[in-house]
């Protein structure tokens, strides 16, 4: 069995030697360079655009604006996961234009595109375009978006509201609150973050005269979807005219799923000029244009009985979606957020409301965690404060409220039925791993010396493997939840697996090879994996929402089974016995009660030679199988985190001293890969918790965190000592039993670290600390507590 082994990755050698092939590495002989002119205003009317001076610059090939886009009859970017109002009315949809028309609505909105002989000329020409702007008042503050006097981004909608959705039962929640022994309340802000994969986005569109088609190398997690979106919605060309290749991609984290604003223009202009056109974002452009994430403002309450059992939860959230709707944006506050809002607790009543809004900011979309970090922060901060106010130990209150294993599948009031899990076992594992009792003793010992240590826990669930397709379509979704796999056995018995997923750091190559090798009964060395090319791989939905192992992996698993079954029939014919009687072990097909056997390679040879195929049984020559696997359900990874902090109450400085994680991601295919995913998620979660913050000036809507000098991310010295453990309740909906294993790290830290800081400072009157938790926000919380006490 290869599944379960920490096999090393085969792609590492090329990356380590500098031989990786990222989009920007692709040589473009006779290529032209594209540059975008972007809005310097958060909100302005475009009174006119004068490109005459720019066009006169030698080497400029073409300049386009929204007028050219419209004249060419091209479409807007698509929102594939809409979320109607709760009463069924369609959402107020304002799609992202490839080039802003009439108005610009965020700093960085594209106003024009220039293609020139090289990048320097293109940039100079973009600078030479004169745009006459009439600046308008902007709203960049989520909480202010629905104010009566808020500037409207899309006047035709008459409001900045996208939609308004409720979950749960308001009446039941009200009744529960009325009976509560204790109620706790908080205002919570989930800070806006920028996913910032280290590789900036890049597109190379090579025009192929033969066939009048374009080969697009793209930094994307979803090559087929991207092809479909560009062809069907934006450029209105046949999909056969575009081949999308996602080569090595330098991190995605969800952000490289989205139908980005630049890509269709790159393809369009390559076709228009019949030349290769290339665009690579600078980091500043990335921060002005890549979709961002989170950005919720929430008012929430939790009601408890006298024993600290949760009676009800009330949540009222304003979720910012930016200036336009990106692909999946409405589904994040609309689905992932409510489905995980009550987390791992038995919450008998819920009154949940979320309103999505437009503001003059970069569009929001999926980023590792997507909705779950926001939900976990609300749920866990409320429970923590409730525990403290009622004098109940934070571990004890969780023991009283966790969903017992016997209650799974568990129907949560946010709308999701959790498939499986054992939260109490996870908690006990965490408590033992961190030696919680010893930590409390240490805390008391330090407290006696005046050192403030805090311990914070977060218990939560992820939501992975989105599907099935029919369910995604119930609210107008325009994409599937299935995944494809083709297994091609070559005539020498070696195997190539083509997967519709895409790896951009997650190590699909060895993971998928482990799955296929086990099912095919072959050495893992015999299995090659190919992804990321619409000309080679059947239509796939790509990688997002931790779906690759459970959906993509299952497609490979199923296709492998079919290959073995066909090979068995071919072997049976050659061995002159019934297929059902042929056994297959260790790579050999054997006839019963005889010493006759055929290797897998022998059978592959027969399959392609074609002369010894049992044609009468409907067996065709060849040994190849394509599967489109649609999962019957999602899966629910669960995790718990414990953070230990030391806080200096004079300055607000605090240090993350230790971190503990316990994950239940079902069956682990490759523990090395999964551990790496936990580590990486954690860095992003700790980033959101402690430093990452996209900041817009509230008045002007100017982006203040526009470079990596201003947008802080964890560096090596910021990461705490870490201990991790795993617990496995296999997912019931897939034969591997795998659940998503890559997002929990990004979900827990804001809650765990927030709870730890509050634990350290509770006796000083601190009840909450705002994200990101910086020395300044801690200091502010302390100052407010002192003021309230005085």
């Amino acid at each position: 069995m290869y599944v379960g082994q920490a096999l090393r990755r085969r792609e590492d050698v090329r990356f380590l030697a500098g031989d990786g092939k990222f989009v920007d590495d692709i040589a473009v002989p006779a290529g032209a360079a594209l540059a975008f002119l972007r809005s310097p205003h958060a909100h302005a009317r475009i009174r006119g655009i004068d490109t005459r001076r720019a066009r006169a610059i030698p080497g400029v090939l073409i300049i386009v604006t929204a007028a050219d886009w419209a004249a060419a009859g091209l479409g807007k970017l698509v929102c594939v996961h809409p979320m109607p109002f709760g009463d069924g009315r369609p959402m107020n949809e304002a799609l992202r234009p490839a080039i802003a028309s009439g108005k610009v609505r965020h700093v960085g909105d594209v106003v024009a595109a220039v293609v020139a002989e090289n990048r320097y000329i293109a940039l100079d020409a973009a600078d030479a375009i004169a745009v006459d702007y009439e600046p308008l008042p902007a709203v960049a503050d989520t909480a202010a978006a629905l104010a009566a006097d808020a500037p409207l981004l899309h006047e035709e909608l008459g409001t900045n509201l996208v939609n308004d959705n409720r979950r749960g039962d308001a009446e039941a929640a009200r009744a529960a609150f009325a009976q509560a022994a204790h109620v706790t309340e908080l205002t919570l802000v989930s800070n806006r973050v920028a996913g910032s994969p280290l590789e900036p986005r890049s597109y190379v569109a090579e025009y192929m005269k033969d066939g009048d088609s374009v080969t697009l190398w793209a930094t994307t997690q979803v090559p087929h979807m991207l092809r479909r979106w560009i062809c069907k919605y934006a450029l209105k060309i046949p999909e056969t005219k575009l081949r999308v290749i996602a080569p090595d991609v330098g991190g995605g984290f969800g952000q490289k799923v989205n139908f980005t604003v630049e890509v269709a223009t790159v393809v369009w202009l390559a076709r228009a000029l019949r030349r290769t056109v290339k665009w690579t974002a600078t980091r500043s452009e990335s921060l002005l244009s890549d979709t961002q994430a989170r950005d919720h403002v929430t008012q929430a309450r939790m009601a408890f009985d006298k024993d600290g059992k949760i009676l009800a939860m009330e949540v009222d959230t304003i979720a910012c979606l930016g200036a336009y709707l990106s692909n999946f944006a409405p589904s994040i506050p609309g689905n992932s957020y409510p489905q995980t809002i009550t987390g791992l607790y038995l919450t008998p009543a819920l009154d949940f409301r979320v309103r999505c809004v437009y503001t003059n900011t970069v569009p929001i979309d999926a980023y590792r965690g997507s909705g779950r970090p926001e939900a976990t922060f609300v749920n866990e901060r409320l429970l923590e404060n409730g525990a403290r106010e009622m004098g109940i130990d934070p571990v004890e209150i969780r023991r009283r409220n966790l969903i017992p294993a016997a209650r799974f599948p568990y129907r949560a009031l946010g709308g999701r039925t959790y498939d499986s899990g054992d939260p109490p076992a996870l908690l006990e594992k965490l408590v033992a791993l961190a030696d919680y009792a010893a930590l409390r003793r240490e805390q008391a010992r330090l407290r006696a010396r005046g050192v403030l240590m805090g311990i914070g826990i977060a218990a939560f669930l992820d939501k992975s493997g989105t599907g099935p397709s029919a369910q995604l379509a119930t609210k107008g979704g325009l994409h599937g939840g299935y995944e494809s796999a083709t297994i091609r056995v070559h005539s020498d018995g070696k195997v190539t697996v083509y997967s519709g997923s895409h790896s951009h750091g997650q190590g699909h190559d060895i993971t998928f090879a482990q799955i296929a090798a086990d099912r095919l009964g072959l050495p893992v060395e015999d299995i090659a994996i190919i992804e990321g090319d619409t000309s080679q791989v059947p239509y796939g939905n790509g990688t997002w929402g931790s779906r690759s192992a459970s959906v993509g992996g299952t497609a490979i698993y199923r296709a492998s089974e079919r290959i073995v079954e066909k090979a068995r029939r071919i072997a049976a014919h050659a061995l002159e016995c019934e297929a059902a009687a042929v056994s297959y072990d260790d790579g050999y097909f054997s006839a019963p009660a005889s010493n006759r056997r055929l290797s897998f390679a022998d059978v592959a040879d027969l399959a392609y030679h074609g002369a010894q195929i049992p044609v009468g049984d409907g067996v065709e020559p060849g040994l190849e199988c394509t599967i489109f696997y649609d999962p019957p359900d999602l899966n629910d990874p669960e995790a718990m985190h414990l953070a230990v902090v030391i806080v200096d109450p004079r300055t607000g400085q605090f240090a993350l001293k230790a971190y503990y994680t316990v994950d239940d991601c079902g069956t682990v295919i490759n523990p090395m890969i999964v551990e790496g995913q936990v580590h990486g998620g954690l860095a992003q979660g700790i980033g959101q918790a402690m430093m990452e913050h996209v900041v817009y000036d509230r008045e002007s809507g100017q982006l203040l965190s526009g470079t990596f000098m201003d947008y802080a991310m964890p560096r090596a010295a910021d990461m705490p000592p870490l201990a991790s453990a795993y617990h496995c309740t296999p997912a019931p909906s897939n034969p591997l039993g795998v659940k998503g294993g890559s997002e929990t790290g990004a979900i827990g830290p804001p809650a765990a670290i927030g709870n730890a800081v509050v634990d350290a400072l509770w006796h000083l009157g601190v009840r909450h600390v705002e994200l990101p938790i910086t020395p300044y926000s801690v200091w502010r919380a302390l100052a407010a507590a002192r003021k309230a006490a005085a």
């Binding site: 790496g676 954690l682 991310m713």
Partner: protein, 163 residues
């Protein structure tokens, strides 16, 4: 205006006409086609573009190509010898110290320089010395492990390159 520069890149003499405004990384990537050196941020923050100039780790995104005139430049492509990974590169694979691979060349170049500069490594010293390199995938845990694991072999190889 083009300026002629002569330098050594990965042990190979190179003479070229460059524009004064070209960053060294652009010269390496676009003109010498050494694309292992990456650009992640343009502002010297992420370290993906780290190369060695006269044996010292430097950011090739904020150094002009003309400034490298006469210098010995080593890029990630010059680290493995005769198709065999350097012990530090091998340790990165063994310890799963890379995921997407984009920051990796810069990490290797910084770590080699760290081992050269620091008389002895500890976890704290490694973490401190990586402050100029951002990795968005690994959380750094396995990078720290890999560098620690390869310290001895890296020093041995530096003392006796032909071994």
């Amino acid at each position: 205006m083009m300026v002629r520069i002569s330098l050594t890149v990965n042990g190979r003499p190179v003479t070229a006409e460059v524009e004064p405004r070209w960053p060294l990384v652009e010269f390496l990537r676009d003109h010498l086609r050494l694309t292992g050196t990456h650009v992640g941020c343009d502002t010297s923050q992420c370290g993906a573009c780290t190369v060695h100039v006269d044996g010292v780790a430097m950011r090739s995104c904020t150094l002009f190509a003309v400034q490298a005139d006469g210098a010995q430049v080593t890029t990630i492509e010059g680290v493995a010898r005769d198709g065999k990974l350097h012990p530090l590169q091998a340790a990165f694979q063994e310890h799963h110290a890379l995921q997407c691979g984009f920051c990796t060349p810069g990490m290797i170049m910084s770590a080699l320089d760290m081992i050269r500069r620091e008389p002895a490594l500890s976890e704290a010293i490694i973490r401190h010395n990586l402050e100029g390199n951002i990795c968005r995938c690994t959380g750094y845990y396995n990078i720290v492990k890999a560098i620690a694991a390869a310290e001895k072999a890296t020093r041995a190889l530096a003392e006796n390159p032909s071994a």
